[in-house]
């Protein structure tokens, strides 16, 4: 049974709502593991942990630093999501994906794991991570349902798109210094199907989760009073970013649509030249040549559209979802602060057990500071990721477009070369217009 920081700091409290702290703690039974990691207990800048936490033996977060550089060298978990398979039961049909993990981290018993997971499981994982780290930015999952109507859940392209998104989701978590240390994450990667089912049933019950939700709603209604300026700035940015990225998503999808329609017409164009060549003698060769060029350009266009659909469209869509995630994270941060503020006000006004309340308020204040720091750190990290992802996607698109035009250029130049035998003199002579 996992225990929260609250249990450590104030063991008198029993029915606590899980606090929003980074990193769940391991069972204290597994003391051995801690020794391996505790030597690495220095905290980088932008630390989100307060002093009391540093000494708590149960906290696993010590060794998870917020490092600035996350190059391949420091990567010690490699995950692939592949091999979608369809499962049919009496009740339903669903797809599972193979999740293959290779890791050198010692909190894992083995260095390799192969499990099968369905979308529901990913969704559960995301929920758990957000619950435990409410102000960290968790990379979005692909959508549960596709609203577009015509897409079937078991359509090949849809499955492939989803698979790639799930792959990215897990890898982003693996790259995250704090999220990757999550117990839920470890279980997700390593447990067999029945083990996972059992594990899922643990954790705070439905009622306590309900309580959390009620509180959150109450807090959001109350609103936060003294939001730090930087978070307001972030919120404004997120609002704008959300609009821009949605626009880009729409524009790109429109380009794909137009390009596909262009391709359809182009496919009819080439054959017309071939048809014409059937009526001609002198011109037949040349007409067939032109038809051939158009056909090759068709192939290149098809490839280009495919690339756009595979590379740019999914990334933009991901960041549309990211924007929503960010909004949710900001809301949760606000709620934490609102809760603190409410209790603080109560201290001044209500006739209650002041000592107990004071202890609670201190805890909440810590919570707020912790949440803010978590968010601030992750915000920087997210911005860097975002820049990297979008830059890479747009670069790739531009490169592909250059490649596309270069290939078409070669096609037409080859054709022109084959024509420029005798006609070249005549063109030079009569080139007046």
């Amino acid at each position: 049974m996992s225990r929260t920081i609250d249990d450590v700091v104030s063991p008198t409290q029993t029915n606590t709502i899980p606090a929003d702290i980074s990193g769940q703690m391991l069972d204290l039974d597994e003391d051995d593991d801690f020794e391996v990691f505790s030597k690495d207990s220095t905290l980088a800048d932008g630390s989100m942990f307060n002093a009391s936490m540093q000494t708590s033996p149960g906290s696993m977060v010590n060794q998870c630093k917020f490092e600035e550089d996350e190059d391949g060298d420091s990567k010690d978990i490699f995950i692939t999501v592949d091999n979608p398979e369809s499962h049919v039961t009496a009740i339903e049909t669903f797809i599972t994906y193979r999740v293959l993990t290779k890791t050198t981290r010692s909190e894992f018993d083995n260095s390799e794991y192969e499990v099968r997971r369905r979308y529901q499981d990913f969704h559960w994982l995301k929920g758990k991570l957000e619950e435990a780290h409410s102000t960290l930015i968790v990379h979005p999952l692909p959508e549960k349902f596709v609203v577009k109507g015509m897409v079937e859940r078991f359509n090949g392209d849809f499955i492939e798109t989803r698979r790639k998104a799930l792959h990215k989701f897990l890898n982003r978590i693996a790259d995250h210094p704090i999220l990757s240390c999550s117990e839920d994450f470890k279980v997700f990667l390593s447990a067999q199907a029945w083990e996972l089912t059992t594990y899922k049933k643990q954790g705070p019950g439905f009622l306590s989760r309900m309580g959390e939700t009620v509180r959150a709603v109450a807090n959001s209604v109350r609103g936060v009073k003294n939001r730090p300026e930087e978070f307001t700035a972030i919120q404004e940015y997120v609002e704008d970013f959300s609009n821009k990225i949605s626009s880009l998503d729409k524009v790109t999808q429109r380009i794909v649509k137009e390009q596909k329609e262009y391709l359809e017409e182009l496919k009819e164009y080439g054959p017309t030249y071939t048809l014409w060549s059937g009526s001609e003698e002198e011109l037949a060769e040349q007409l067939k040549g032109v038809a051939g060029c158009i056909e090759r350009c068709c192939q290149e266009t098809e490839e280009q559209v495919g690339h756009l659909s595979d590379t740019l469209v999914p990334v933009l869509h991901e960041y549309v979802l990211c924007a929503e995630t960010l909004k949710a994270v900001l809301r949760r941060r606000d709620n934490i602060q609102a809760e603190f503020e409410a209790k603080n006000e109560a201290l001044a006004t209500k006739k209650v057990d002041r000592d107990a309340l004071k202890v609670e308020i201190d805890k909440l204040e810590d919570r707020v500071e912790w949440a803010n720091n978590a968010l601030k750190g992750d915000w920087v990290r997210w911005q860097r990721s975002m820049r990297g992802d979008l830059k890479s996607a747009f670069l790739s698109t531009a490169e592909k477009n250059v490649d596309y035009y270069e290939k078409c250029l070669a096609v037409w130049e080859t054709f022109l070369l084959s024509q420029r035998t005798e006609p070249s003199e005549e063109t030079d002579r009569d080139n007046t217009s």
Binding site: K244, Q259, L266, Y269, W276, V290, Y405, L416, Q419
Partner: protein, 405 residues
């Protein structure tokens, strides 16, 4: 655009161009106000010494060109007469250009009319036509053309009426083949032009949507720090990309016009074939008539009635003819036979002449067509290459900008 035979006598003497287009208002035949376009025909003697001298010029409207062309069609039926540009914009890629008053349409028509005049001026036979010369140079004599043309037009329309009814027994195989070819060419060029217009429409859509990238990148760059510059400049390149399609498609329109000219040429080809059929038909009619008369003479001489005839019937009913009556009839027949022989000889010569001269011009036309269309296809490839090069440039620039993000 047009490979002009600089060798004809007319073009050696003068430069011809359709320099401008203007709008005029006037009263039409039913006394209603109308707006029409007139085109300025300029001619200038080809002479190094006369450089800088203002050319002679006169204004003509599209319908006058039509009259000239009809005149040429009727007067030189063995010639494949160059077509005029479209009266109305029909196969267009963008709905805007369908308006006759649209400046782009007017401009393209101006070029087409100039092309027509140059085609006629470079034709070995047509270039010597006096009416053509008058059309180019004399303002006052346009009424002369009008009257002449009306006359010929009426003659031609009578002939055209006959076309509908007759069937030729022994057409020259080459003309039948030519008619099939012109039908095929018309079908395939129509289809090609239609598909090309649709392709152009779609290409326009693709390029223009990229303009939205320009706008959004620009707005987005305002909220970013490190990415701002890269995004902003990338946005400019997206705008440039979107704008580039206008020039690309305008160039392609020239290519489409070249194809259209040959699409309209198929009418001229068919006209020559029809004229052949007509002469052939007339020859066959005359030959048939001669054969009939020969038959009648034979019957008269031998006294036998081989075929049923009204004369035979009436003579049966009302008695045989006298020897004098028969002699008189024979005389008439002999005369008719002589005339008939003459007519057949004439028609034969006419037909042979026509076939000979027509086929010379058809060969000339075929060579011209092969040359022109070869050039057109090459220029189309050049256009595609230019479009690709522009694309490479824009996206390479955009890539540089994205790199700076």
């Amino acid at each position: 655009m047009v490979e002009i035979e600089k060798g004809t006598s007319l073009l050696r003497k003068m430069e011809i161009s359709v320099a401008e287009a203007e709008k005029r208002t006037g009263k039409n035949t039913v006394n209603m106000q109308e707006i029409y376009t007139v085109y300025l025909i300029e001619t200038r003697p080809v002479d190094a010494l006369t450089e800088g001298i203002t050319p002679d010029s006169l204004w003509r409207r599209y319908s006058e060109f039509e009259l000239l062309r009809n005149y040429l069609l009727v007067t030189y039926p063995f010639v494949v007469v160059a077509p005029l540009p479209e009266k109305r914009a029909e196969i267009v890629w963008h709905k805007l250009s369908a308006d006759n008053m649209d400046p782009d349409f007017v401009e393209r028509r101006r070029v087409g009319l100039e092309n027509f005049l140059l085609r006629v001026a470079s034709h070995p036979v047509l270039c010597n036509d006096n009416i053509f010369y008058i059309f180019l140079t004399e303002v006052r004599n346009h009424l002369l053309i009008f009257n002449l043309s009306v006359f010929f037009l009426q003659a031609d329309s009578r002939l055209k009426a006959v076309n509908a009814a007759f069937r030729v027994k022994n057409p020259d195989g080459r003309f039948t083949e030519l008619k099939h070819y012109s039908d095929e060419l018309q079908t395939v060029l129509s289809q090609l032009l239609r598909v090309r217009a649709r392709v152009a429409d779609r290409l326009y859509g693709v390029y223009k949507v990229h303009g939205n990238y320009g706008r959004v990148f620009s707005e987005w760059s305002a909220i970013e720090k490190e990415m701002g510059d890269g995004l902003q400049s990338a946005g400019h390149h997206m705008d440039a990309y979107a704008a580039s399609v206008d020039d690309i498609l305008e160039e392609e329109e020239h290519y489409a016009d070249q194809l259209k000219e040959y699409l309209f040429y198929t009418d001229a080809l068919r006209a020559v074939c029809r004229k052949h059929e007509l002469t052939q038909f007339e020859l066959e009619m005359v030959a048939l008539d001669l054969a009939c008369k020969k038959q009648q003479k034979e019957e008269l001489v031998t006294g036998t009635v081989r075929t049923f005839s009204l004369k035979g019937m009436t003579s049966k009913l009302f008695g045989q003819e006298t020897a004098e009556q028969r002699e008189a009839k024979l005389q008439v027949l002999e005369q008719q036979l002589e005339e008939g022989e003459e007519a057949v000889k004439e028609k034969n010569t006419e037909s042979d002449e026509f076939v000979k001269t027509a086929w010379v011009d058809i060969e000339r036309f075929k060579d011209q067509k092969d040359r022109d269309l070869k050039e057109a296809l090459i220029s189309y490839a050049v256009m595609q290459i230019s479009m690709c090069k522009k694309g490479i440039q824009v996206w390479t620039n955009a890539k540089e900008c994205f790199n700076k993000m």
